[in-house]
């Protein structure tokens, strides 16, 4: 074992105390995104960027709120002149030129997309999405990690594309796009979605993997109920119907091996000084 951090100021005669090792139960499941090829990644990024630019999907944001001027969103004429006065010329250089209400330029197209992690999560919970794209450069990565089992459970293809945020954020006029979802009723992006979906790798969620193979077995389930035993050639025929339902997952879920993590306690851990009278140093 490595030399223990000894108490400062003591003689070196003292024996080195072996570092206590803490064992902790580690998560047996590893949440992983599917591996995406480079060409697929470029293709996806390129198609989306072109499409967005062609649609002119942009968010024009007015920074006038910082000047404590409320309700400026709909006032067009006054704000324009005020901006000129205050010299905030940056926001005036929009390609539109005219005073724009803050918001998105084609508003109906905006409704077909779910932009941002919260929106994507909400839409996934309601099962409205066809495709989910997440940015790989999220730090810390837990921020997008919860999308994996969520979309796997709804059967929605999802993949992690690095640099999604770098490419699409300036195209859309946002600071940061960590997640993007296409709703089911999307008309503007339909061809893109159809082109991208076959390139998306499969999501692998260990505990869901065993039951997600059911679509192959569902017809067997129905045939079970209709007492058609020819398809089922396992020994489940003798079981009563209620047990058949439970035993439908013919591959019993694979038990993941036990994962234990061994930790060395942090030597720089902030500790409260012990209140015992013996330690005179504290």
């Amino acid at each position: 074992m490595a030399a223990a951090p000894q108490a400062p100021g003591r003689g070196s005669v003292r024996k080195t105390r072996p570092l206590p090792v803490k064992t902790s139960l580690n998560n047996p499941y590893t949440i992983r995104w599917g591996a995406l090829d480079r060409e697929d990644m470029h293709f996806i990024l390129q198609t989306l960027e072109d499409r967005i630019k062609s649609l002119g999907l942009q968010k024009t944001e007015d920074r006038k709120r910082k000047r404590k001027q409320p309700a400026l969103k709909t006032q067009s004429g006054d704000t324009c002149s005020m901006d000129v006065d205050t010299g905030e010329g940056l926001k005036e250089e929009k390609p539109e030129g005219e005073p724009q209400a803050s918001g998105w330029t084609p508003a109906d197209v905006r409704k077909q997309l779910a932009i941002g992690i919260n929106e994507v999560t909400r839409a996934l919970e309601r099962n409205e999405l066809l495709l989910v794209l997440a940015c790989k450069s999220a730090k810390p990565a837990i921020v997008t990690a919860h999308l994996v089992p969520l979309s796997a459970s709804r059967g929605v293809p999802a993949c992690q594309v690095p640099r999604l945020s770098e490419r699409l954020a300036p195209a859309m006029g946002l600071t940061c796009v960590l997640a993007l979802g296409f709703k089911r009723n999307t008309a503007a992006f339909a061809e893109e979605v159809r082109a991208i979906i076959p390139r998306v790798p499969r999501l692998d969620v260990p505990w869901l993997r065993d039951t997600l193979e059911d679509p192959g077995e569902n017809p067997e389930m129905e045939s079970l109920e209709s007492q058609d035993k020819e398809i089922l050639d396992t020994s489940f025929e003798d079981l009563p119907k209620s047990k058949r339902k439970l035993a439908e997952g013919q591959q019993a879920a694979v038990l993941q091996p036990l994962k234990i993590k061994k930790l060395i306690p942090n030597p720089n851990k902030i500790r409260k000084p012990p209140k015992s009278k013996k330690t005179a140093s504290k």
Partner: protein, 130 residues
């Protein structure tokens, strides 16, 4: 390597219960009571034997009702901004108890850092797909 772990069987029980709770919810999303029971048992075992669990495991269990939290199924997860910091808020749907985790791009849990590992596990945390 890992052969001298004390209470190895207890860890195996914990792991088994955890996985069983996942499978139960995967097969029958309505039956959350059973998953909750498994997780409650797991918590009791860990408490009684004082076993340490990884934060990645603890974060998926609700502290109030000890149900297994799966985002989208048993809990909601949102990003919130609070005091100029970014938090991930997880709310259990059964007991409405929320947990908040800070999203600091520079912070890494001590347990995930490579220097803490004794060489028995890979250095990356469970949610890091690399």
């Amino acid at each position: 390597m890992a052969g001298q772990v004390k209470d190895r069987e207890a860890f195996q029980r914990l792991s088994f219960l955890y996985q069983a709770a996942h499978c139960v919810l995967a097969q029958d999303p309505e039956n959350q009571a059973l998953a909750r029971f498994y997780c409650h048992t797991e918590r009791t075992i860990a408490k009684r034997l004082v076993l340490r669990r990884d934060p990645s495991v603890k974060r998926t269990l609700c502290r109030g009702c000890s149900s297994l939290l799966i985002p989208g199924l048993t809990c909601t997860q949102r990003q919130r901004r609070c005091k100029a910091q970014r938090w991930t808020v997880q709310t259990c749907l059964t007991c409405q108890r929320s947990q908040r985790f800070l999203n600091d791009p520079r912070h890494l849990l001590w347990g995930d850092r490579p220097e803490a590992q004794l060489g028995s596990q890979a250095g990356l945390p469970w949610w890091h797909s690399g």
